[in-house]
């Protein structure tokens, strides 16, 4: 983990109530896709945890949905503003157990960590397929960016784009042998019974610190108590107790 000030390079609306922010600063603490940052929002006491959607040597990208006061305040950031981040939090996805045809499943703002993951899987010579789930077509983001990398199936709950229904309405490509997922808890739970193979899931929990100090985010697993911010947010399907 690294604390630091990051400079806003851009901050723009990319879909209904969904924003993409690119920040410049030290990304040395980021090791794996699925790690997150904890963002200080001026005027709010707690930091806001957000997954890193992509990073390189000098920049990182966040994608966030406006759901409350903190994310609303974030939309006011302008280029050259500075944000204080705890960077490089959590374990992130482990690519090694994946077979050749991993299935990525992301619901709404669960998709961001899957973007860096998709890039890394492709780089590792795998052929991932992505199922993206949204409520409605106006919420869709990053479809083109994902399609440039991998094959994609889109689902919307209201049927306004792609397959109508939840992500579990999609048909995974034949040969899928492992999965990586991030999204709302009911989706993750449904996936675990739907998909016959093993996989990793990124969870969300309300956090005090984000770096393991407060036990604010502990969940019960088959490995005992685990902190979502430290041992997680990514857990193997097998250790989760629903």
């Amino acid at each position: 983990m690294k604390q630091g000030n990051y400079r806003v390079l851009s901050n723009r609306l990319i879909a209904h109530a969904t924003w993409e922010m690119v920040l410049e600063g030290d990304t040395g603490s980021l090791k794996r896709p699925g790690q997150f940052v904890n963002v200080q929002v001026p005027g709010k006491f707690l930091r806001r945890p957000l997954s890193v959607a992509a990073w390189d040597n000098a920049t990182l990208t966040l994608i966030y949905k406006v759901v409350g006061q903190g994310t609303d305040l974030l939309t006011r950031c302008r280029p050259a503003d500075s944000l204080n981040l705890l960077c490089g939090l959590g374990n992130g996805f482990d690519l090694s157990p994946s077979g050749q045809h991993p299935l990525l499943v992301g619901g709404g703002v669960g998709l961001p960590p899957l973007y860096q993951l998709a890039m890394d899987l492709v780089k590792a010579g795998k052929q991932p397929h992505l199922i993206m789930g949204f409520g409605s077509s106006d919420e869709i983001f990053y479809e083109d960016l994902f399609r440039r990398l991998i094959s994609v199936t889109v689902c919307t709950v209201d049927g306004s784009a792609g397959i109508k229904g939840f992500v579990t309405q999609a048909v995974p490509p034949k040969g899928s042998d492992y999965f990586f997922a991030c999204g709302p808890s009911p989706m993750l739970q449904a996936l675990c019974s739907w998909l016959p193979f093993s996989g990793q899931l990124s969870l969300e929990e309300r956090m005090g610190c984000g770096f393991g100090a407060c036990m604010g985010c502990s969940i019960q697993t088959t490995l005992g108590s685990q902190r979502v911010c430290k041992e997680g947010p990514v857990f193997a399907k097998e250790v989760l107790i629903w």
Binding site: M1, Q40, F45, L46, R206, C217, S225, K230
Partner: protein, 303 residues
């Protein structure tokens, strides 16, 4: 310039400590900076048996503060002694404060006795105040007689200084502090969190799975200062002051109110380097306010 203070006979390089539940066993902070620069810290509340604590959400936000209902998650005293203390020894070389909770007199006594025997433990901080656990410490901390009873029982099995940590959710905290002092407490620690509730208007449910939680953070500083002062005027044992401290000025204010040592809780969670920064700011702040020796200001408000 002197920043050292003496808490119940143990010298501390400075009065700044991490507060229980907000500093884990020090591991996470030791990865960030050398935590030996702190006066000390109080480790996560320990019970006789392992506890998972409350279901999530355990955390809610509020203005200038946060609510927690962690529910005393800890691996139990035997695991703390077998695993956490030896690990801590590798990176922390000062006496540490052992924070203890329990659900019966007997549990308090057994847990304290076990920790008292550990060389690394400098003080026992007996939390009779945690508001999160339904059957928990609350009852001990709201009645002077019960607070005195637990103090006497723990004192009887401990050689190390016993500091009783009080809840602010009472009508007369001075009466409880006095009862503890008369029962032999070597120090008083305060305040724990204020009972608090947040409701999610969308779901119409409490934000916390436990419904209520404990409020801490800068929001509660003025309440903590009033209580530290009230207790300072009622007892002669040293006071460990806490509640909302988040900068070096808050440390000085807490000491002026009556604290010999000052703990920093919730602020660590949002500013992981805050304790280091406060320790580093201390000499500058002392110079700015004409303080040569920190001991001179303990309890030193002028009326």
């Amino acid at each position: 310039m002197n920043t050292a203070v003496t808490l119940c006979g143990i010298r501390m390089d400075n009065p700044v400590m991490g507060a229980s539940g907000c500093f884990g066993y020090g591991v996470e902070f030791a990865e960030l900076y050398d935590i030996n620069l702190l006066g000390s810290f109080s480790f996560k509340g320990t019970t006789l048996h392992p506890r998972f604590g409350n279901p999530c959400p355990r955390i809610a936000e509020s203005n200038s503060g946060m609510l927690n209902a962690v529910g005393l998650q800890n691996p139990g005293v035997r695991q703390v002694i077998a695993v956490e203390l030896p690990r801590m020894k590798q990176f922390f070389h000062k006496p540490v404060m052992a924070n203890v909770s329990g659900f019966s007199l007997d549990e308090y006594v057994q847990t304290c006795a076990l920790l008292d025997a550990e060389e690394q433990v400098g003080w026992l901080e007996v939390n009779i105040s945690c508001p999160n656990v339904h059957l928990g410490g609350m009852s001990f901390g709201t009645e002077p007689a019960a607070a005195a009873e637990i103090t006497r029982a723990v004192k009887a099995v401990c050689k190390k200084p016993v500091i009783i940590k009080l809840t602010p959710n009472v009508s007369d905290i001075a009466a409880i502090a006095s009862a503890c002092e008369q029962a032999g407490a070597d120090g008083i620690s305060l305040i724990n969190t204020l009972v608090a509730l947040r409701i999610d208007i969308k779901t119409r449910r409490p934000v916390l799975a436990n419904r209520t939680g404990g409020l801490s953070g800068p929001a509660i500083l003025p309440v903590a200062l009033a209580m530290v002062r009230k207790v300072y005027e009622a007892v002669s044992v040293p006071i460990v002051g806490m509640g909302g401290v988040s900068c070096v000025e808050d440390v000085l204010e807490m000491m002026l109110a009556g604290a010999t040592a000052v703990q920093v809780g919730a602020a660590n969670l949002v500013e992981p380097y805050i304790c280091r920064d406060i320790v580093e700011d201390l000499p500058r702040a002392m110079a700015r306010h004409g303080i040569e020796d920190l001991n001179d200001i303990i309890g030193g408000i002028q009326y």
